[in-house]
Point group: C2
Chain length 199, copies 2
């Protein structure tokens, strides 16, 4: 798999009609984001490559849109631990076999995107929302399908998704359970919190 094949366009994405796909995206994500539609096409391809009988974990390399594509269209979520999210701003995801750690990385290929000007301009932040209406962009994304993506077979590092038992302590100031590695107090009591108490 060198990621250079041009693939045929398939009728259904993640087993859904286009309408159902958009409606599920809107329900979970709040609105139809182009990145989520592209994300669904990425998940669809990864699922096809990895096969139906494999219990797959996921990694996404950006906080933007892609985590929701994985959470809507696979069993992996942040809270069940099967999805890891890296804040790298890279529009890429991996689905991989939980046991063998073998899987596929799929990413938005900037070079390939040049064939699809709407998509390229959107991805490279070269067009305003006014100049590039959502309808037109979605049409281009559906038309491009996998042709704007690349794919590689990968093996995920053994440490990813490993269940490590981290030592917990009780904070002497607030009485909450917290990660011992954070120090003698929890982050909030140690002055590293993200909020102040309102009176």
């Amino acid at each position: 798999m060198d990621g250079n094949e041009t693939t045929i366009h398939i009728e259904k994405i993640c087993g859904r009609s286009r309408e159902d796909l958009l409606s599920e995206i809107k329900k979970f994500h709040g609105h139809i984001a182009p990145g989520l539609v592209l994300g669904a096409i990425m998940v669809d391809w990864a699922q096809e490559l990895i096969g139906q009988n494999v219990e797959a974990d996921a990694v996404v390399e950006t906080l933007k849109c892609l985590p929701d594509a994985v959470q809507i269209f696979t069993p992996c979520t942040i809270g069940n631990g099967w999805l890891k999210v890296l804040d790298w701003n890279q529009f890429a995801l991996c689905l991989y076999d939980k046991k063998s750690k073998e899987g596929f990385r799929i990413w938005m290929d900037i070079e390939k995107s040049k064939r699809f000007p709407n998509l390229h301009k959107w991805f490279m932040h070269l067009a305003s929302k006014k100049d590039l209406p959502l309808e037109a962009l979605l049409e281009t994304i559906f038309q491009a399908g996998r042709d704007v993506l690349s794919c590689r077979a990968v093996r995920i590092a053994a440490t990813v998704g490993e269940k490590t038992k981290r030592k917990e302590s009780i904070c002497p100031s607030c009485g909450e359970s917290y990660l011992a590695e954070h120090g003698l107090k929890c982050n909030a009591c140690g002055g590293k919190g993200y909020y102040s108490i309102s009176e």
Copy 2:
């Protein structure tokens, strides 16, 4: 609000019957996790305090279960940016007004949990799954409701949820877009990746 009131037990949680709540948890999370049921009770209380007409963002302080409670029962998700997840292992969440940054932090109160031995043992990892069947634990969680939680009015730091534009570069090795702050190459090409290429 000093978090010490005992609250009445309400019929519905996040507007759902007990059955619907458990079925939605199972559908999204894959199984009924006690932490997710407790998380729903936390979200329910926070939503009641903040009121229906407030557009709320969320922070959770653990990767375990709570992110999914927020994603199922509020409009906030990782991918739409309205939910921030801190890997602090603290069983706490905040819902707060997007504009004023005022909101409520709700947490599992270990001291209060002593009144509910099943819940206390589960939270403190003092009982095996065999000794504490899911059914019994869920019954205790529903019975305890908000009585095992504490709450405080908080103001979230201005920097949380701020949209900062981070500079992007094109990696000279792989051609992908990545965060410029990562260096001259993207993490994977710079040897800081989480996967190897399979042949």
